[in-house]
């Protein structure tokens, strides 16, 4: 049972950050694309568009950071080699 628990823990830790990065990457690409397009259309709006771009970039990045923090938390719960040895010997 403990091996199943540790296996699933490792799987969850490995999948947390990449799955979050998929959505974050798509969203941020759309943000920057629209920012670049609107600056190209109207260069004098660059200041305000840039401010909005950074604001929305941080908001979308937050969701990826949540996944990253979960990865870091789960990383601390993985077993040490000594615990694995005692587990395998049982």
């Amino acid at each position: 049972m403990a091996s199943i628990y540790f296996g699933l823990l490792a799987l969850g830790a490995a999948l947390a950050a990449p799955l979050a990065a998929i959505g974050a990457g798509i969203g941020e690409g759309m943000i920057f694309a629209s920012a670049i397009q609107s600056i190209a259309r109207q260069p004098e709006a660059q200041g305000r568009v840039q401010t909005l771009m950074f604001l929305t970039f941080a908001l979308v990045e937050t969701l990826f950071i949540f996944g990253f923090v979960i990865f870091l938390i789960l990383l601390g719960k993985l077993p040490t080699p000594d615990q694995l040895n005692t587990l395998i010997q049982k």
């Binding site: 305000r48 401010t51 909005l52 950074f54 604001l55 970039f57 941080a58 908001l59 990045e61 937050t62 950071i65 949540f66 990253f68 923090v69 870091l72």
Partner: protein, 271 residues
């Protein structure tokens, strides 16, 4: 008062605050309006640029909220930037690196949650002060509590209350995750090469600087947005003031009416 027992983020947080105080004192030792010194000029330039940005986000009554927002920005910026200073000395006998003693104070959840709690209580206090206790409690029922006889507030009430508590949580976790994540990536880059493989860490440090500034700016900007949402006195129509045009605000600013020369006049006179 045994300093060895204090947690490292507390000492680093106090050190960042003391650095800010010392820099501020150095800047304003001999304040001069017509010929400012270099430090005073730098602080005035950065503060003026930031107040323009935050004024647009704060809407009316910006002057009374600006000290808190700017203090948050500069303190978080200095706390984040402390993480760039290398301070690992030696290794443990089993090969692990020693813990650095100069870290960013915001890389610990205690600091970020404390900052988010400051913002949370300030925003709630502003809501109560501008709407009154009854109006503040009524705003949780949503913008349209009833449609005819359908009580929509049953849907709005839990969503609004959870939303109010999610805001400081997301503020603190965003800041903590970004800064602590950078720390981890920094140590990973350190471990990928040998102990003193500086070029790998240099690129990560550049990214770290950018993220530090952006996260401090985002914290302050979201504080502005939350304050402006909670302290408008006409219901939920405060969103039209978010990022209002800076020109409209600067026309009413106190120092704009002191006869300052505007760029338009210079252009007309020179052209």
């Amino acid at each position: 008062m045994n300093l060895q027992e204090w947690p490292v983020y507390l000492i680093n947080g106090i050190a960042a605050a003391l650095t800010l105080l010392v820099l501020g004192w150095l800047a304003m030792r001999q304040p001069n309006v017509r010929r400012p010194g270099r430090m005073q000029n730098f602080f005035e330039w950065s503060t003026a640029g930031l107040t323009d940005l935050f004024r647009g986000a704060l809407g009316p009554n910006a002057e009374q909220h600006l000290p808190l927002v700017l203090a948050l920005f500069f303190y978080i910026l200095f706390c984040n930037l402390t993480g760039l200073i290398p301070s690992i000395i030696g290794t443990y006998p089993d090969g692990k690196l020693a813990e650095p003693y100069i870290t960013s104070a915001t890389a610990a959840t205690s600091t970020t949650v404390a900052l988010a709690l400051i913002v949370f209580f300030y925003v709630q206090y502003m809501g109560i002060k501008s709407k009154g206790l009854l109006g503040y409690l009524k705003h949780f029922l949503g913008p349209v509590p009833f449609i005819g006889f359908i009580p929509l507030f049953i849907l709005f009430l839990p969503i609004e209350i959870i939303g109010e508590f999610v805001k400081p949580f997301s503020l603190s976790m965003r800041l903590f995750g970004n800064i602590y994540g950078e720390d981890v990536i920094n140590q990973l880059a350190l471990g990928a090469g040998s102990h003193f493989f500086i070029p790998a860490q240099f690129v990560i440090n550049l990214l770290q600087t950018f993220t530090d500034v952006v996260q401090a700016f985002i914290f302050a900007l979201l504080t502005c947005a939350y304050i402006s949402i909670m302290s408008d006195t006409h219901g939920h129509d405060g969103h039209e003031n978010d990022f209002a045009s800076v020109e409209h605000e600067t026309a009413n600013r106190p120092d704009a009416q002191l006869g300052a020369v505007s760029p338009a006049k210079i252009g007309v006179a020179g052209g």
